[in-house]
Symmetry: C3
Subunit: 379 residues, 3 copies
């Protein structure tokens, strides 16, 4: 019995827009690494799992021969033009639902509406808590606002956002680590924390929120709103202190939020995905994916996917690509996930006699059904 | 050359009794998860590795077709009745020796003697340190005992227990984390720690021991008795702070105990089983298993077993099921372990030309010989 | 397409000399474990992955039948004599370049020149920072030197060493853990730290450097020299607090050194090799290997090698054996690495259609080219 997941319906619950400009080699290499530095002299970012996966899988849809040299790949890519490449690869990804996080936009990227059209997918928005707070604080600063009024302005903006968005995202991991204070603040504490932060801001400068008390207030806002909260966990760029991004550090927050119906969506999690699986097992509110790690481990992603199917109940595992900028990252994210999940489930069929239909059922749960249930999008 | 371990002799050095009552679906699901919460709405605890393993492996011995639906499985199970199911699955587990930990009994479960009979196995007792201390403290409280006499009462009870038991168990990981103070207390310090704890107890209430000084005193009692000490490590229920259950946190305790012949039996260890393997390699007193993780990773348990055969000398690895409540957990614990170990050793035969006899010798060490040596049950 | 790496050129960038004396069974067993204790009664160090690998792979070159019993193996070994065994196994390792760390010499071992001759390889020296500081401090103590002059003496000796050596090694992990203070000290602070340490030394005793401030000063000396700095990371002997050897603990040091061209060579890294791969990905200065872990995980080393090929760019992964004492450790280090890397890359060829030539190119990078580039030995 051979499992085929080529047509598995996918809900990419955490991704970003693609760039709408032609990229030279340096610009392209910048987008296939989490490092903020260029590749070391004498090396190229293409000599990596993600680079090989792009050369292997993205050539055919673009009409290039497999494993072409990077320069040849980029030459054809430029000839086609970024709009066409975006459309070809996004369409070929066959992703049905997108949860697009709109808080990270250093380049000109497609909006959720444009992404929806380019990918022929239903697009939902995810709002980044820290970005909203920074934007509102900047505006409040510009108009000379009262520090003690800032929290209510942020709340108003978040309330508005949540009328259209299906959840929020926090980058607490990047800004303060996951060992920030976890207990629920009172409203007065939230107002004061935000006011204190506001007083440190420089006029004319867009602020960078890295205050643990303010981030705590934002996360508790979301918990009390009983929405889905995406947490960056584990692997990311060189800005992260990875040892402070272990999801186990959230244990007390998850416990403290048990009375609310908020859901914790742990993103990426590598190399702490087994720890994430434990949390998803014992805490009803926890879901997780291995997102970013699929693209960046490439030929090894099957093993990472396999490790994500250990402790966690099958109803708590999600799919995401965390693609940003390049449609290639959508395409290989979906391709590696479908292929890898099929290989893992096939090994369960072969070694443990899972019925094919049960393997397909589990694949559909992970592919999209869990996301629809967890984000409450049924019906 | 094909390795077959279907008849491998097993010493399940850490397990519990089975429940002797008929279970409905909710009651059964409760016993196939480490979570204290029921499955999330729209999901079932059967949709997990352990649930699939039960449907796959336990059906045949009970005369049901493989991978029957949970309701059908439970219907037949209830028809047979719990006594019969217990006997069928325990017998079919073909476990020769049981090390039964008697400190965890929230339900009516079989005693070591009853387990011995139902499983046709030799049963040994393991005494839970914290449970003894709590029980003696409760009795001492009832009779209005002197706080400074409690330690000697606990020691007397432990001394008595160790006349019949082959070792002790500590749940320091659950109660205080493994980073409790590690140096050896004096007798006076032990007396004082226990007295201070005693003074905090409420009359009429069975106490819950979570005092690091008292737990230290209990563990050092066991070290000086030069017995085998089982430590819960790593994965467990939602009561655990998993990041405080890394076995490496015990390093200084292990060093401090080097002059005694106590043995440290690290249980489960997932996801820190590689760390446990390191400790088993460099410290003569350390043994470990991947116990609970075998059942709860199911189709993935082969990989977990494989990872437990890295640094650790083959003479330091043990088998346990950590089965509690359900005879299914004994049966799949034994089945997954025999099958998984056979697959791992077969890969060593195929790729590294291990002689079949050497693979069988290693399997016997891990299956039961190491436990017999480490618990000093020879001859 | 079948990848064969039997002739892969290797640069073993971190190893030690071999012992030049005949060894009895106890002496041999001592050298095939990281433990400072003998095997537990009733067991032998041969019953381990490294023991099995020696019996499997080293027999043939010495003219013994595969998997001979340890006593038979050692009998033939003694008949041949250690010089001959050294030469046979080192030659058979087919290692082209050796980076020999000379700071660990509890026994009489071959010098880099002797190793070069015995192995028919080009040998380079790596200087151990702590050893130089200890040696110079001892001499300074003997002549009644001024504490405030010690730092300049150490610097002078290191300067001299770096005229011949290609890099340095630090065992900060063993001595103080990797969470030592990371910021750059001023010259005055270095002088003072060293003087304070010097004042604690006992006349007539070779000192053991375990002062975090002094170790910091030594490492920053090397950073400012812009040399390659080998860090012991992860798995080692029972002297190590493994939880303080996680390479992520170096994150701030790596960031603080970003303006210098020093390179951080993270050694072994097990079980934190995925964490090391992350650092190698996001920080240009970081390289790593799984060194010691290859020999000590034996039949499981393929998986460890596979896990080292996840996040890290292929241009940042190195080979080392960390062999010490026994030529067997060189031989199996090279053998297991070539075989394991071939199996891993073959799986990429089979499952992800890597072209054979690309797999060979990646193997050459990891085998020797990355080391030549990173140690600046080109041309």
């Amino acid at each position: 019995m051979k499992l085929n997941l080529d047509e598995l319906v996918l809900f990419d619950h955490h991704c970003h827009g693609v760039v709408n400009e032609d990229l030279d080699r340096a610009g392209f290499e910048e987008l296939i690494s989490e490092s903020s530095a260029p590749a070391v002299a004498g090396t190229t970012r293409f000599d990596s799992q993600v680079g090989f996966a792009i050369r292997r899988f993205c050539s055919a849809p673009l009409g290039i021969s497999d494993f072409s040299e990077p320069d040849e790949y980029l030459r054809v890519r430029q000839e086609l033009g970024s709009s066409k490449v975006n459309r070809i690869l996004l369409e070929a990804s066959k992703i049905s639902y997108l949860g697009i996080e709109t808080g990270h936009q250093p380049k000109s990227i497609l909006s959720p509406e444009e992404m929806s059209e380019a990918a022929s997918a239903k697009a939902y928005e995810i709002v980044r808590l820290e970005k909203v707070a920074e934007t509102v604080a900047f505006q409040h600063l510009e108009v000379g606002g009262n520090p003690f009024e800032l929290w209510s302005k942020i709340v108003a903006e978040l309330d508005k956002s949540l009328c259209r968005a299906i959840g929020v995202k926090t980058i607490a991991a990047y800004r303060v680590g996951l060992d920030f204070p976890h207990s629920q603040p009172t409203d007065d504490e939230a107002v004061l924390a935000v006011a204190n932060w506001f007083k440190t801001l420089e006029p004319g400068q867009v602020p960078r929120l890295a205050d643990p008390e303010v981030i705590r207030a934002l996360i508790w806002y979301a918990i009390k709103k009983e929405t889905a909260i995406q947490f960056h966990i584990g692997y990311g760029d060189d800005d992260v202190d990875l040892h402070r991004c272990n999801p186990l550090l959230l244990t007390n927050l998850i416990r403290a939020a048990a009375d609310y119906d908020a859901r914790f969506m742990l993103l990426h999690c590598y190399p702490f995905h087994r720890e994430a699986g434990y949390l998803a097992d014992v805490f009803p509110s926890v879901y997780f994916d291995v997102g970013l790690a699929i693209n960046y481990t490439g030929s090894r992603s099957t093993s990472v996917i396999a490790e994500s199917l250990e402790l966690a109940p099958f109803g708590k595992i999600l799919f995401s690509s965390d693609a940003f900028g390049l449609p290639e990252l959508y395409y290989i994210g979906a391709k590696l996930f479908r292929d890898g999940l099929a290989r893992v489930l096939q090994s369960f069929i072969d070694e443990h006699q899972w019925p094919l239909a049960e393997a397909e059922r589990v694949a559909s749960m992970i592919g999209f059904e869990n996301a629809i249930r967890a984000y409450k999008l049924e019906g």
